[in-house]
Symmetry: C2
Subunit: 420 residues, 2 copies
Amino acid sequence: MGTELLLGQIVNTNAQYLSRQMASLGVNVYFQTVVGDNAARMAFVIRQAAERSDILLITGGLGPTMDDITKEVLAGVLGRDMVFDESVWQEITGYFTRTGRAMTANNRRQAFVIEGSSVLHNRYGTAPGILVEHDRRVYVLFPGPPRELHPMFEDQVRPYLVDHGYAGREVIHSRLLRICGLGESTAEDMVKDLMATSQNPTIAPYASLGEVHLRVTAKTQDIREARALIDGMTMRLRERLGDNIFGFDETTLERAVGARLREVGVTLALAESCTGGLLGQRITSVPGSSDYFLGGIVSYSNEAKKSLLGVSATTLAEHGAVSLETAREMVDGAMKAFGSDIGIAITGVAGPSGGSPQKPVGTVCIAVKTPWEEEAGVHQFRPPRADINWRSSQQALTSLWLLLGKVLAARGEPPEPVGP
Amino acid sequence: MGTELLLGQIVNTNAQYLSRQMASLGVNVYFQTVVGDNAARMAFVIRQAAERSDILLITGGLGPTMDDITKEVLAGVLGRDMVFDESVWQEITGYFTRTGRAMTANNRRQAFVIEGSSVLHNRYGTAPGILVEHDRRVYVLFPGPPRELHPMFEDQVRPYLVDHGYAGREVIHSRLLRICGLGESTAEDMVKDLMATSQNPTIAPYASLGEVHLRVTAKTQDIREARALIDGMTMRLRERLGDNIFGFDETTLERAVGARLREVGVTLALAESCTGGLLGQRITSVPGSSDYFLGGIVSYSNEAKKSLLGVSATTLAEHGAVSLETAREMVDGAMKAFGSDIGIAITGVAGPSGGSPQKPVGTVCIAVKTPWEEEAGVHQFRPPRADINWRSSQQALTSLWLLLGKVLAARGEPPEPVGP
């Protein structure tokens, strides 16, 4: 794996994964190093790392090919032999039988392990992992593919580290608060005093496309204490930011909106032009979305806007396909076609061509219609094309999220963010 | 930046970017290291790196906050002073005037540079970069945000490295061949002799969701020679893999299919059920797709399949919503609704619920209809939901790609992959 990383062909997601896992165990990660599939440089890096760390997590280079030399290099650094392990050999032959694949002579190499090490079983591939205790340090070798590495860490290495007292006395725990409908500087302004004064938990802002995130991170003796600190800060941030906080951690805006549609008990239909199906894709990416999502019409041509959504030829001629008038007729057409309670229509100029002085690339009209209230607006988003479309879907979901929040509040049910 | 990386909160895309840039300059990257915003550990890592490398590229920690200490640490390691730079100060104040932002006292710190260094101008932020030559080594400090780092590297550092003879005598150049319609092991089997015997260029396979990639990499004295080697191998691989190679490098399957729709001169309409708009989104992500894409109907409910696509109640009752019969009627309905030459329909069980013994989660029926030929198939894709939908869209695009290729061949126009 190292060589692909050093050529910049792939990005190092294993480092991220393992670092996050170690943070959750309260183990400080001070260094990450990438080195190629070269014995001398690998040995050099392992020796350096052993000088400065107690735990070395090493990924990749356990496969059957000639490039895969990690085990052998570590054995060399530690001055240990490689020994054939019959039980590993049984597992490897079993894997090939089970998956019906053909074995090569090289696979036999994978049954050799470092003398005196513990073998980590690999349920999703042929390369076993290895754990060696040596000179008051722990060395763990993981296979490179994430789908093999993740279960091996979680089922075997994490418990080992906890049982052997490596989990830290200080736990680092964090929660991401996801915010829609506020720009980065506006959101920061609303909480900047808390950001400046709170030492534990800390608050760090991140801007993403059409969303702002605040990461609240606590460092404490135990996880309950960390959660309590984070809960307290979450409450204070919600007092400032209100219903614009739509969710926590991995919760997407489409999932939050879906939960709210279900809570309010209404159905949704779409009319998409420039976004081409993106909004429908996002909404249906949520399992169970068929409970509230009826469907959509992607009217990429004017003809389709007329025949399928009933937009009038006069409206198109007088105001154009990208106009509030067209968006309003599109939303009516979608609601009628699907018989839904709520409709969203998006029509805009995603570019790179098709702009005009009056309606430059990035002009997007969005209409959201509910039984209680309707909203239609002209927005100006920055190219490129993919960003314009993403922000359009984000804006539409944000409008619906906030409108449904008002409906809940009017019912006397306080609107809540959606958990992970 | 380092601390966020060590906590696993973000992934290290800067390392990938810089490594790829150095590979294209023929400079071997042997090590990547991540360290936190801690003076002692940063100094330790810089000293170690200086022992083993000629060029040190360091990113992050140049901002105005107290955590940003990279410049000061490097100055300390090199035994140089920090000096106030009037021209940098002018640039920083100019940036704030231009963007209308408020300056803080900390921004003055950003005008201090390492004595005897060259300042790298930052067009997209306030933090200047720094380049220092010291003891036959080059140290470059870059700001962390990619949109500031990339232009700084390309406009200032890359030319410096070339002018000062750091660009390697050996150039590493590669091309990605993108393959649809063949599984990883099938594709590998068809070219395994070339993979085993060719030393320069090398061929490495990668599997991605519903696609296989072959990376052809040449290492030569100059870029023209590398391109010639890669062109030669591309021809040999095309003899084996034929029209299943749909594109090179960054070419997506939706872009390749779009180019072919334009070449053949036909229009397309969609009927999507489980994919919820994903296929429309992919097709319209290509600029200019309105030339051949008319629109789609996302019929998430049975009611919509009947009323908008004309699927008969009998078909739905007898065969179910996920059936070849329904897919065939959906494709007819979409072609009729939009008046298109070609139609694609997708209906399936994306899960996690909704499966049955006869039609488990992952069962997807896809119909592709053209004026020349029609194709309808039942596929079984592995969960999770997002994978099932992605593979469904991939399968539909693959079928259309290959069908249109046969049309071109019949016209006497050899079908070609689509370039980057």
